[in-house]
Symmetry: C2
Subunit: 225 residues, 2 copies
């Protein structure tokens, strides 16, 4: 019995168009055939063609101009990259984020402002323990500290990617690893602040690297079980 992939006509029409675009049949900037032609090509009605085109428009692949035509904006779905990242394993995502921490600390050592250091010291003092307001709140405070380090790097792209990984990881991790990961103490955090404040990039990177190593090790142990 053949397990046909049950999907609707709109989806398959959109998929057809997407692959034609990806194959370069219509280069970027080019106008694709009009609706009537697509109806013939895809063998579906105009409404279905329009919905398929609308889907690709909302994905940033096409652009429709009333009275003129439908044009190719990009050959690959930009959002697909993000999906692929999200589908990589938790371990790789965690490791990638940890590397961002390391390199962000290095940059922060070189570029931090006095306000950055003040913020880090404040977040560190507010961090407290799990006992204060429960586990979830503690994780939020801890995260705020690490995010502030990345922010001190002065690189907005790294901040956004860091946030993305954080969101993706917390989505997955949810309830599965509750409390199983070692949480470095305040002293380890304080060392990071001092290393960044010292302005020594290698020292800052090393402090974060040392910080992350045992966490990643434990994560590996948990995931290999």
């Amino acid at each position: 019995m053949k397990q046909a992939i049950r999907t609707n006509l709109t989806e398959s029409a959109a998929t057809s168009l997407r692959s034609e675009i990806a194959a370069g049949r219509w280069p970027v900037g080019e106008r694709i055939p009009n609706e009537a032609t697509l109806v013939e090509m895809l063998g579906v009605s105009r409404g279905t063609v329009r919905e398929a085109v609308r889907a690709l428009v909302s994905q940033g692949l096409l652009e429709t101009r009333q009275g003129s035509g439908t044009y190719v904006l990009a050959t690959a779905d930009p959002a697909a990259a993000l999906d692929r990242v999200r589908q990589t394993c938790l371990r790789d995502q965690w490791e990638a984020r940890a590397l961002l921490d390391v390199e962000a600390a290095r940059l922060a050592a070189l570029r931090h402002t006095p306000a950055d250091i003040a913020t880090l010291r404040r977040l560190l003092s507010e961090r407290g323990t799990v006992a204060d307001g429960g586990r979830e709140a503690f994780i939020r405070r801890d995260l705020a500290f690490h995010r502030a380090v990345v922010r001190a790097s002065g690189n907005q792209a790294m901040v956004e990617i860091y946030d993305f990984f954080t969101a993706a990881i917390t989505d997955v991790i949810g309830s599965t690893l509750q409390g199983d990961l070692p949480e470095p103490n305040d002293q380890a955090h304080a060392q990071i602040v001092e290393a960044v404040a010292s302005g020594d990039p290698d020292r800052a990177a090393a402090s974060v690297r040392a910080f992350m190593a045992p966490v990643l090790l434990q994560l590996d142990r948990l995931l290999s079980r």
Copy 2:
């Protein structure tokens, strides 16, 4: 004169629905009103409603189930994070990608397989010069080399993020910086391969860092003009 944002009905209908969803009018998992009701609510025809819903479906906010209804999958656009990354400045994106290069080389030194090294050597020997097949082809070959280093790190998340940055950067850079960036020679590339092959993570990271520094410096100069 009021500069009304000229948009079509489908877009505004989709925007209405998106904001209702974001406002929590229909929680995640909930069924939204049926098409006929949306027609009344939004004051547009059924076809327009369907196109608006289709747009949100392709963005991952909604899911339609024939015979059952349309359900909320998420309250925020997951692709929004990616858009924010793309909107950060070229310099930050470039730097972030360079940091990925560095840390990927570090991991590659620890985890590379013999096949990885063979691939790197092959890509290096095929790299050639700008004279071979034109500038664009040369950039592609050069990129393939650096991507292979990231791939040798064994971290798929880093590969995907690297690809994302590469795509975003090449989109922007396009014609603006044609040929203005220094291109490290084969010797610098060979040093990276040897450092990775040596299995020394610090040496591998340092070789890529030294590699990237002048490029980033020149990029800063170009962008500050």
